[in-house]
């Protein structure tokens, strides 16, 4: 594996103070993010914002794997979609509360991630990408045929239910605060994981796997745990999305969804803390406003992919960080 690594983020200039594990710049960005989360629903349509947050969380989970471990999964839709189906099924058929439905969906996505990760980490690089893609396609066909998913129709009319059994999530604003809370919790969890000693080993694997092995770390175990965590959080994102829209469909397990999350992360900046969120915002907004253009949206996505790969590998946040000489 010669050549430039996937994530060559700019080195921070000199020692930086850290606040709660964030660098100063990151902490300011975090405050801006919180402010945006609070203010946004008064200016923008809450359902659009919830969609954006679900995808932002999905992209953050994906970034945990591609940005910090250097593993390119091309099949993350499998965990996102499966989390969505299971949460929808739990909420609709079993009548569970929303938080339990999402947790069950996430756990199942995690178990699935454990099995698939165990198979996929036997190969590296390009093969890893192809294997994860093939496994996700298998899940797509499974969801197409399995009785509980409703085939082409999906699971429809999923109730949002009552949070903890007594707070109704039916009003969009209440649901928005719930989704925002889920997002912030998972975002902080990912940040905690990345900055733990465990996260340091993950980054070491990204930079040089044989050397990490020679230091005595079982890199396969670390990769597998990272894969499971990423799949679980992707499941949270999928489950939350299915409750927001009251529907879980084949779109969420399709390979194009795996491509989309990759695009979001790439646009925002691989291996940056805030990149996936910005990338998700850009792509979701683009899809929203260009929806009437039909298949041209796919073409535009392709063009963005190419532009990112050829000219713009740091992504939006990576470029800004490079410009300001800080790590975001």
């Amino acid at each position: 594996m010669a050549g430039q690594s996937m994530t060559s983020s700019a080195a921070p200039a000199g020692p930086q103070e850290s606040i709660l594990g964030f660098t100063k710049a990151q902490f300011i960005a975090l405050l801006v993010m919180f402010a945006a989360l609070v203010v946004a629903p008064f200016f923008l349509y809450p359902v659009f914002l919830m969609k954006l947050l679900c995808f932002a969380l999905f992209a953050c989970a994906f970034n945990l794997l591609i940005g910090y471990v250097g593993l390119t999964s091309f099949g993350h839709a499998a965990y996102f979609g499966m989390g969505g189906y299971i949460a929808a099924h739990s909420a609709k058929v079993w009548g569970l509360t929303p938080e339990l439905s999402i947790i069950i969906g996430a756990l199942l996505a995690g178990v699935q991630g454990g099995i698939f990760g165990w198979v996929a980490i036997r190969r590296q690089g390009i093969y890893f990408a192809m294997i994860t893609l093939a496994l996700a396609q298998m899940i797509y066909f499974f969801c197409l045929q399995a009785p509980f998913t409703g085939g082409e129709d999906g699971i429809q009319a999923v109730p949002r239910g009552h949070l903890f059994g007594f707070i109704s999530l039916a009003p969009d604003m209440t649901m928005y605060w719930f989704v925002a809370a889920v997002f912030v919790l998972c975002f902080l969890l990912i940040h905690r994981i990345v900055h733990s000693p465990f996260g340091q080993v993950l980054k070491a694997i990204r930079e040089n796997e044989p050397r990490t092995t020679s230091l005595g770390y079982r890199t396969d175990d670390y990769k597998l745990v990272a894969f499971i965590l990423s799949a679980t959080i992707a499941g949270v994102a999928g489950g939350t999305k299915s409750l927001v829209f009251g529907i879980a469909t084949l779109t969420d397990v399709h390979w194009s969804m795996s491509g989309e999350v990759l695009l979001m992360t790439l646009v925002g900046g691989l291996g940056t803390v805030f990149g996936p969120m910005i990338g998700a915002a850009v792509i979701v907004a683009m899809q929203n406003y260009l929806a009437e253009m039909g298949a041209w949206v796919t073409v535009i996505q392709g063009v963005i992919f190419i532009a990112c790969v050829l000219a713009f590998r740091r992504g939006i946040v990576g470029e800004i960080g490079n410009l300001l000489r800080v790590r975001l």
Partner: protein, 294 residues
């Protein structure tokens, strides 16, 4: 002898033949992927789109210019191969110094563009391409009717795969190619124009995909999505076979096509997933693939 294991023979042999045809496409596509990967070190995600382009160019030649199947069999791979050469020269060549995955991302983006453009132009529904008169009809083999065109596809695909193998293993050009796969700078030091060889190799791999597309046009309907689902299966085929050996990819392609066909007879529910399940089993037993080098 109307039944084998309780399955009517015409059904069994019909599905076997269909499996053999799918296997022929798997073999041709995974062969192209393997050749490209060997020299360029990228996985050509555009391969499925280029397969689709091959079929579409054949359809366009017929409907806009009145050029029939036999000329399309030559012209379509040439034209699509030419677009491949242009892509390699303008974009892909910038990525050789970088992580392999950027090549995959770039070609993925390209396939989105190509498919999107074709979908805008021709919609999602398929368009028919009729079988050339010389190859229409069917032979009565006693136990089943064998459409002539399907037999032709299998034979011609085998011929294309074996010719590719012969070129790579038995000619001077192939020797250069194999040497450059092992150590490109050294081959370049001997005065071989390696960058041009890389470009032509990519063009040839793409042309092979387009050739498979022309062969597929009369069997499947010509539509913009015909390549995508196929390419994901071909990725699994490539993982199962390993990309180390040319004959290995051909054997794996045909073998998996037949297994898929048999699954359609004995347990249809699993026919869409059987190749992926085999991939998992192979990965557990032989992570490098059946013919791969670790």
């Amino acid at each position: 002898m109307d039944e084998i294991f309780g399955i009517p023979t015409p059904l069994l042999f019909g599905q076997l033949l269909l499996g053999l045809i799918n296997g022929a496409f798997y073999a041709m596509l995974s062969l192209g992927l393997a050749v490209i990967f060997g020299l360029l070190n990228i996985i050509n995600f555009t391969h499925g789109a280029q397969f689709m382009m091959g079929a579409f160019v054949a359809w366009m030649l017929l409907n806009y210019l009145g050029i029939g199947y036999w000329w399309a069999l030559i012209l379509s791979p040439l034209l699509v191969g030419l677009t491949g050469v242009i892509l390699e020269r303008t974009m892909i060549c910038q990525l050789y110094k970088m992580d392999h995955l950027y090549g995959m991302l770039l070609t993925f983006g390209l396939s989105l563009i190509i498919e999107g453009v074709f979908r805008n132009q021709y919609g999602s529904s398929g368009m028919p391409y009729r079988i050339p008169p010389e190859l229409s009809g069917a032979w009565d083999l006693g136990f089943m009717f064998m459409p002539v065109y399907r037999g032709w596809v299998v034979v011609f695909a085998l011929f294309a795969c074996i010719s590719t193998w012969l070129v790579i293993e038995k000619t001077r050009l192939g020797a250069y190619l194999r040497a450059a796969t092992e150590n490109a700078p050294l081959v370049q030091a001997f005065g071989v124009n390696v960058p041009r060889m890389i470009t032509l190799t990519y063009g040839a791999g793409v042309a092979l995909a387009a050739l498979a597309g022309v062969l597929a046009a009369p069997i499947y309907s010509v539509n913009p999505q015909m390549g995508t689902n196929l390419i994901i299966v071909v990725f699994a085929v490539v993982v199962i076979g390993g990309m180390g050996s040319i004959l290995g990819s051909v054997l794996t392609g045909f073998g998996l096509g037949i297994i898929e066909g048999l699954t359609k007879v004995f347990y249809p529910e699993a026919s869409a997933t059987v190749i992926f399940i085999i991939m998992v089993m192979v990965l557990l037993a032989r992570p490098a693939g059946l013919f791969g080098r670790a």
